[in-house]
């Protein structure tokens, strides 16, 4: 039904255009770059018109539109210079440069957004703290992408790994276990402070490894379950681990997690005095003051780049190809000699690793690991990022994570303020509702709508990987032999694919 609707809209569209002498055939014969440019310009025009209609007209909208056009319209990957396809790196490098220099043009040193004018509807540019969160959630979403996107296993308890990482940082870099006194490269630890203080850089790695181990322990008994059962079991673990964290202040009389109070303070990372003296790297992130957020931002950027690198390399490795084979057809993959259990467990462990690192980093950034942060909604929040952007697609997942984190931290607030200002009580346009609307309160409902709409209309996500898209559209005619809705054999429908 959906497909027929789409076909009808497309047919109507081409009929309209053919009045002006542009047939579908002629359009297809145009060079690809021209087509992209025209498409991009038309969409930009529509967007700008909408913005103008809504009464917000800022030059920043034009600048952003121009940047997006330059990045999207030309087929950059066709640019070949002396045999090297350097063109494909241009959009990536441009985005990276924009990201790295963000603290200089978009916000003042105190993290308040001042450098750029306000965006229409969305308001100010994201604060530095939001940018750090974006990085952390991007890392987690990329980690979940190993499990959901590559191996096709639905994990509804990813928050357990995040919690595990966070508590690893809490245990190994704070004064939680004051019975012992262990120090190893901890930065900024006051002399005479008891507890385990290990350098955060090492803790990040350890947290990742221990969390991966937890992933394996969880995965081994459960991974032979079929898709939806696995989802529920992971959900179960995602509820149990945080509950242990909440109740862990007296496990047999031992204070493991400090209960609902959480563990704090957690040591900040730093490079130590030697590197500070010789290379001007910050000695201790905790003592930075105004450049605190941006230093964390660059650090998480490096971690995200590492994650992207691992994602891309693992995807193309023997293991990654095995994951994708399992996702596409488990039985066929097993018949081809892919060891199901081992391959799935590796997907789980890899996903858990990055979740753990991100969790530990988050704990270090916040200075605490708090059980209130670990609940089911966060698991789904990360899942929405992966699904919105496109399961298995690295750029898609990054986009989804950044966009949704932004919405969650500031975007919904800003949009709500804008909506209330224009349509709320005493609004400048028309007063539609008479009590201020609390948009951020409905955040998870909005994510729910995103989940449903994406699954119904674009299951491959906004920036899909071509392979996954093909899979989703092929899947439609897989299930039943007979189309019970229209009474026609399914084989006819394949033409529409």
């Amino acid at each position: 039904m959906r497909r027929r609707l789409g076909a009808a809209i497309s047919a109507g569209w081409w009929r309209c255009l053919s009045v002006f002498g542009l047939s579908q055939k002629r359009w297809r014969s145009l060079p690809r770059t021209t087509r992209r440019a025209v498409k991009g310009l038309v969409w930009t025009g529509i967007g700008l018109l909408l913005v103008a209609f809504l009464g917000v007209w800022e030059w920043s909208a034009l600048v952003i539109a121009a940047i997006v056009l330059v990045l999207v319209v030309p087929s950059w990957n066709r640019l070949v210079v002396s045999g090297h396809r350097i063109g494909q790196w241009i959009p990536t490098i441009a985005i990276l440069v924009l990201a790295v220099t963000y603290p200089f043009y978009a916000s003042s040193t105190t993290g308040v957004s001042t450098g750029l004018p306000q965006l229409p509807v969305f308001g100010t540019f994201p604060l530095m703290s939001t940018m750090v969160n974006m990085g952390i959630f991007t890392m987690m979403a990329l980690g979940l992408n190993f499990v959901v996107g590559y191996a096709g296993l639905l994990d509804l308890g990813y928050v357990a790994f995040y919690a595990m990482g966070s508590y690893m940082a809490g245990w190994l870099a704070s004064s939680q276990f004051s019975q012992v006194n262990v120090r190893f490269g901890g930065i900024g630890v006051i002399q005479g402070l008891t507890g385990i203080h290990i350098s955060i850089w090492l803790v990040l790695l350890l947290a990742g490894m221990v969390t991966a181990l937890v992933g394996i322990v969880i995965g081994l008994p459960t991974l032979r379950l079929r898709g939806d059962y696995l989802a529920i079991v992971t959900l179960g673990f995602g509820e149990i681990l945080p509950q242990i964290a909440r109740n862990g202040d007296s496990l047999g009389g031992f204070n493991l997690t400090n209960g609902t109070g959480g563990i704090s303070p957690i040591d900040p990372p730093g490079f130590g005095s030697w590197l500070h003296r010789h290379f001007d790297l910050p000695a201790n992130f905790g003592a930075l003051g105004t450049t605190f957020d941006r230093t964390y931002f660059w650090t998480i950027l490096v971690l995200v780049l590492l994650t992207i690198f691992c994602s891309a390399r693992l995807r193309d490795s023997r293991l990654g190809r095995a994951w994708i084979a399992i996702r596409e057809d488990e039985i066929a993959a097993a018949a081809m000699g892919v060891p199901l259990m081992r391959t799935k467990t590796w997907a789980y462990a890899t996903g858990a690793f990055f979740g753990g690192v991100a969790g530990a980093f988050y704990a270090s950034y916040n200075g605490s690991s708090n059980p209130d942060e670990f609940y089911f909604q966060i698991s789904v929040f990360i899942l929405v990022m992966v699904i919105l952007g496109g399961m298995g697609s690295i750029p898609g997942v990054i986009f989804g994570a950044c966009f949704l984190t932004y919405l969650n931290s500031e975007g919904l607030n800003n949009i709500g303020a804008w909506l209330n200002g224009h349509f709320g009580p005493g609004g400048s346009d028309f007063e539609i509702w008479h009590k201020p609307l609390d948009v951020p309160q409905y955040n998870f409902g909005i994510y729910g709508v995103i989940l449903v709409v994406v699954m119904l209309f674009r299951p491959e996500g906004l920036i899909p990987s071509s392979r996954r898209a093909a899979e989703f559209h092929e899947g439609v005619r897989e299930e039943s032999l007979y189309d019970v809705e229209h009474g026609a054999p399914i084989s006819d429908a394949t033409e529409a694919v």
């Binding site: 039904m1 959906r2 096709g152 639905l154 509804l156 008994p221 459960t222 032979r224 379950l225 079929r226 898709g227 939806d228 059962y229 989802a231 529920i232 079991v233 959900l235 179960g236 673990f237 509820e239 149990i240 509950q243 242990i244 909440r246 109740n247 089911f376 789904v380 899942l383 699904i387 309160q441 409905y442 998870f444 409902g445 909005i446 994510y447 729910g448 709508v449 995103i450 989940l451 449903v452 699954m455 119904l456 299951p459 899979e471 989703f472 899947g475 439609v476 005619r477 897989e478 299930e479 039943s480 032999l481 007979y482 019970v484 809705e485």
Partner: protein, 332 residues
């Protein structure tokens, strides 16, 4: 593994016996609480099992349909029937039956609409797609509840009489608990009759067995599935009414918590199996009540979720077909 299971069950039995010996009257009172909880869980668990049996879909939104059912019931009881504590028996019965009908109809229709909008278009898609939309719908329903009733608890004053049905040796069985069973049992009997004896029930069973074959036999599969969702929703509505009457506090996230427990009950009994869901729900009800109520070495309410989910994981790993289910290729 059987040895481990035997040891666990033996420990459980010892624990129960010691607790019983320490205070038989108290133990029985706690058991009555478990029975009441179990009856409530059965209503919700049946909805999961019905839908899973026919579509093999974990209807994640079911718990939230139940939660909206409780909110419908609270509204009906308080704002439409203006029921107050210590109302006359006649008025109480009229109000309960009236609210029950409205809650069942509203939740049934809501559930059928959800199926039509969010699950039917994905009938042929990869298996996880409808599960993901179900999670989305669950969040949407929670936000509908927030928009309707706000983020804090909706309270229903205790409307049911608290007098004793019978009292033997210090153990009293109160009317409020008995009314829960009194509402639940007829609904369960009606459901059994519907599935076993009617034409529509036969169509449901046929569709659950083999959708394609059922379609070839002239069964309108989509209508049957819609009907199943309607029934499941109506059961959730009944559960909602019972919850509003008995527990008296509903919030937007009530459905998520209780839904997961009910789902565990459905899996425990053998998902897709109707008597199994009831049995599983009673077991979970007892486990929860004993855990929260008993004094001798009970982990306490802080650990209820962990115990229920731990149980769920153990069952799914070691006996995916549940207590009464048949062995299916799903698990092993």
């Amino acid at each position: 593994m059987p040895a481990l299971a035997t040891i666990l069950v033996a420990l459980l039995v010892v624990w129960l016996v010691v607790n019983f010996a320490k205070g038989p009257a108290y133990f029985t009172t706690i058991a009555f609480i478990g029975l009441t909880n179990g009856a409530l869980y059965a209503l919700v668990a049946l909805g999961y099992t019905l839908v899973y049996g026919i579509l093999e879909l974990i209807n994640f939104a079911h718990g939230d349909v139940f939660m909206l059912g409780a909110m419908f019931s609270a509204t009906m009881l308080l704002s439409v029937f203006h029921l107050t504590p210590h109302a006359s028996t006649g008025k109480l019965i009229v109000a309960i039956v009236g609210s029950l009908v409205v809650a069942m109809a509203a939740c049934g229709i809501l559930n059928a609409v959800i199926e039509r909008v969010a699950y039917r278009p994905l009938r042929g898609a990869p298996r996880l797609a409808p599960l993901i939309t179900a999670i989305g719908v669950s969040f949407i329903l929670e936000d509908i509840a927030i928009a309707w009733k706000g983020p804090s608890y909706v309270s229903v004053p205790s409307l049911l009489p608290k007098g004793a049905v019978f009292s033997v040796g210090g153990v009293t069985y109160t009317w409020e608990k008995f009314i829960v069973v009194l509402i639940t049992v007829p609904v369960l009997l009606a459901l059994t009759w519907l599935v076993k004896r009617t034409r529509q029930g036969k169509a449901m069973r046929a569709t659950a067995q083999d959708r394609d074959a059922a379609a070839m036999m002239g069964i309108d599969v989509n209508r049957t599935i819609s009907f199943t969702f309607l029934i499941a929703g109506a059961l959730a509505g009944t559960g909602g009414l019972v919850y509003a009457l008995y527990f008296g506090q509903v919030r937007y996230d009530t459905g998520y918590q209780l839904g997961l427990i009910a789902f565990t009950a459905a899996v425990f009994g053998g998902i897709g199996n109707l008597p199994g869901a009831v049995l599983g729900a009673l077991c979970i009800g007892f486990i929860q009540a004993f855990n929260e109520g008993l004094v001798w070495h009970a982990p306490g309410s802080d650990w209820t979720e962990s115990i229920v989910f731990g149980l769920l994981i153990l069952i799914l790993v070691f006996r995916p077909e549940g207590l009464l289910g048949e062995r299916t290729p799903e698990g092993a």
